[in-house]
């Protein structure tokens, strides 16, 4: 009997070698440099990056073969993200290929699949995620954005009103997938629908939310009498919760956090060697503790992924990976700031945007600061740590 996991592991080894080759020989130097230094990538950089991945068949490697994917196992997908991040590659923008794409092939109509999936794969369209609202962050069921169905001779459509918030890269988006309320009064989970909104529609306004790292990541998106054709509804009316849960599962089982922690840890070690503090021994212990925590994260993550593949999972593995991964990553970032000393507080956001050297310290010092600042969000966005712990408490411990 062949062990499917054994085969998956073998494929992972090949994939990792291919990724390394891609990094060494294919990834353009400018993208590599910007990414490794945590400098600012603009939309054109990201589109180029995502298309490079797609050229390798990797942007949608996890999609089924009938939609152009390679039907990667969970292990391959996880290891792929991990490996990219270990090398310090740019962020794989997930909104199209990881989030909305799978929802469309799982719940969409044939027409929706034909219309959207190829463009998602090739990053012809840039997508944003319209989930959170000012009153509905962790509590998504409390969302208030309303879509009212209107019958009209030129075709039925929804009229959408409401406000989304923390919408990453909405300023670049052609499309936004959105959770909206399509019914009032009924149980929250049965009143929510999954709607695709063309960002060029009249009534869509994007306002930046400046964050403390001086970079434009997130936005408010205001929707005022936005007309959305009914054919942009994915799944049935009131079935958005099913899509949302399916998507969140994809969102949370992310190998990137493991690779990011590894990469940051490697950089921390180099920084400590370049500028030893008053006690080498204490610094070594601090880094050693982080490395030990990384080992636990790595082992627990991969064993969790394999448990999911075997069907022996307890259901909260994704929460474990996200909790331990993001919290460890933040601690490594703090240690890096400390290791940088004065260079860890000298910050020129304009230099980062211009891919210019920071005022002090190594070439990536400004990027390390920016990352430290923005990654405080890692334990907030995509299911806050508090929510993840609730999931484990309820789902596993039965509390």
């Amino acid at each position: 009997m062949t062990d499917p996991l054994h085969e998956a592991r073998q494929r992972v080894e090949k994939l990792k070698a291919a990724v390394r080759h891609f990094y060494d020989d294919v990834l353009p130097e400018d993208l590599k440099r910007k990414s490794v230094r945590h400098q600012v990538l603009d939309k054109a950089d990201y589109v180029r990056w995502m298309r490079l991945l797609n050229d390798q068949g990797w942007a949608i490697g996890h999609w089924p073969k009938e939609y152009g994917g390679q039907a990667w196992s969970l292990l391959e997908r996880f290891a792929f993200e991990d490996q990219l991040a270990r090398l310090g590659c740019p962020w794989v923008i997930p909104f199209g290929v990881k989030y909305v794409g799978p929802v469309i092939y799982a719940f969409g109509t044939d027409a929706q699949k034909a219309r959207f999936l190829p463009r998602i794969a090739a990053t012809e369209d840039f997508w944003a995620q319209g989930y959170s609202e000012p009153g509905a962050g962790s509590d998504l069921a409390a969302l208030r954005t309303e879509a009212i169905r209107v019958h009209a001779t030129e075709g039925d459509h929804y009229v959408v009103n409401g406000q989304k918030v923390w919408t990453t890269y909405a300023q670049w988006a052609d499309w936004m997938f959105c959770l909206v309320k399509t019914a009032r009064g009924t149980q929250a989970q049965k009143s929510i629908s999954f709607l695709l909104i063309d960002m060029k529609s009249p009534g869509v306004t994007v306002k930046p939310i400046p964050t403390m790292d001086g970079y434009h990541h997130v936005n408010e998106v205001w929707l005022e009498d936005v007309r959305v054709p009914v054919e942009n509804l994915v799944g049935g009316e009131g079935e958005g919760w099913t899509s949302a849960k399916y998507l969140l599962k994809n969102e949370r089982t992310a190998g990137a956090i493991v690779g990011m922690a590894w990469h940051a840890l490697a950089r921390l070690k180099a920084l400590a060697a370049e500028s030893p503090g008053p006690s080498r021994e204490r610094t070594a212990v601090r880094i050693g503790e982080l490395e030990l925590r990384f080992l636990a994260l790595e082992e627990a993550s991969y064993q969790a992924v394999e448990a999911m593949m075997r069907g022996t999972d307890h259901g909260a593995e994704a929460s474990l990976i996200k909790l331990r991964g993001t919290e460890l990553y933040q601690h490594i970032a703090e240690a890096a700031i400390d290791a940088l000393g004065l260079a860890g507080i000298a910050f020129d956001a304009a230099a980062l945007h211009a891919a210019a050297p920071p005022p002090l310290g190594p070439l990536d010092a400004g990027g390390i600061i920016k990352d430290h600042l923005y990654n405080r969000a890692a334990t907030i966005f995509g299911g806050a740590s508090e929510i993840q712990r609730n999931i484990v408490a309820k789902g596993v411990l039965g509390l």
């Binding site: 503090g277 008053p278 204490r282 000298a346």
Partner: protein, 370 residues
């Protein structure tokens, strides 16, 4: 050790009143976005209020403020995140000038510090690796300094350098940043306060000549300790705001149909923030008292305070951001500004690690105390 409660109270009241009226979040925002990175108007006001004469002797019209009174002002500096160089100039610069300036030098510069027409910055840290080691030869300064708080706007720099004319002893010099041979790279620290890196190529430097011939090393150590304790007070001001605003937010933010503060897990974390605030307050006071003791006997308390406060304040700031959710990261909410200020303070006047090392070196061992 009697500390001057009256001066402390006077300064606290004056600072609070001024900051409430003139240094609200939006008013500060204007200062932050100004190219100068500080408010010349506020600086003039501080001079009129007497804050800039904080550390001047009473004989020279100063307040001769003790550590308690300095702390009273610095708590408000933290609470409102004042951008001006009170710490760099009125505490550190003034302190160094008093300890190391000759009578003539003090006579020349102290009145200008008090009236605000002179802003000092202390340039001490040098690039790693010793390439920019500062040295004065035949009265000319060469070398480099980095990360100089308010070095971008100072009218004069106090620069530490090896005096090659006197056997290489560490010595303090006054340097005009506009002098020929000074190259200044101006930038901001991550909290928005200005800073600079400086390169000196044969720059005319005026040696500070203490009447008692006291070594500069001791004066630097003394003033660094004063700055460290002042920063503890600043941190306390910040932490008090964060503890209060986070508590308020837990009461008003509703998710899942109730205030998030009804969750016991969050209540306990808020309590831990409060406990840290109380410990910071206690260590700050202990460190202020220690400063009134002779130099050399206070490293354990002063550096212990900084080491504890740096980590405690970081924890409070992290928790404040986390419990505010995405809002905690935004420019529009004060939480992220406090977060960044604490980050900068932790790295200035000795890192946490450096102070922890000093604490360990000074601490009596357990066997000695029992």
């Amino acid at each position: 050790m009697n500390m001057d409660l009256e001066t402390a109270q006077m300064l606290r009241d004056s600072a609070q009143r001024y900051a409430d009226d003139h240094y609200g979040f939006l008013q500060r925002h204007a200062v932050l976005n100004d190219a100068a990175g500080y408010s010349a108007r506020a600086w003039r006001d501080y001079a009129e209020l007497g804050w800039l004469a904080l550390r001047l002797p009473e004989a020279d019209g100063g307040l001769d403020a003790d550590p308690l009174a300095v702390g009273a002002l610095m708590e408000v500096v933290g609470r409102r995140l004042l951008m001006e160089p009170i710490l760099a100039s009125a505490i550190v610069g003034t302190g160094l000038l008093r300890l190391q300036g000759s009578a003539a030098q003090q006579q020349e510069w102290l009145p200008r510090l008090a009236d605000g027409s002179l802003k000092l910055a202390f340039a001490d840290a040098e690039p790693l690796g010793g390439a920019g080691r500062c040295e004065v030869r035949d009265g000319r300064l060469s070398g480099a300094k980095i990360g100089v708080l308010h070095g971008d706007l100072a009218d004069r720099l106090i620069v530490s350098a090896a005096d090659a004319d006197r056997g290489g002893a560490k010595t303090l010099y006054l340097v005009a940043p506009s002098s020929a041979g000074v190259a200044t790279t101006r930038y901001r620290f991550v909290d928005g306060r200005g800073a600079a890196n400086l390169r000196f190529a044969g720059v005319r430097a005026e040696r500070l000549e203490p009447a008692d011939g006291a070594p500069a090393d001791a004066a630097i150590a003394d003033v660094t300790e004063q700055a460290t304790v002042a920063q503890c007070a600043e941190a306390l001001g910040i932490v008090r705001v964060l503890v209060t605003t986070t508590g308020e937010y837990l009461k008003i933010r509703k998710q899942f149909g109730r205030a998030i503060g009804t969750n016991q897990a969050l209540q306990h974390r808020a309590v831990d923030m409060f406990l840290l605030q109380e410990e910071i307050a206690a260590l700050m006071l202990a460190a202020q008292r220690a400063l009134t003791q002779p130099a050399g006997t206070r490293a354990r308390i002063v550096s212990g305070a900084k080491a504890y406060v740096a980590n405690a304040a970081r924890h409070v700031a992290n928790e404040a951001v986390q419990m505010h959710g995405g809002l905690g990261l935004t420019e529009e909410l004060d939480v992220s500004h406090y977060f960044r200020r604490l980050m900068v303070n932790a790295a200035l006047f000795g890192s946490r690690d450096e102070h922890f090392s000093r604490f360990l070196a000074a601490a009596p061992t357990v066997t000695e105390t029992h």
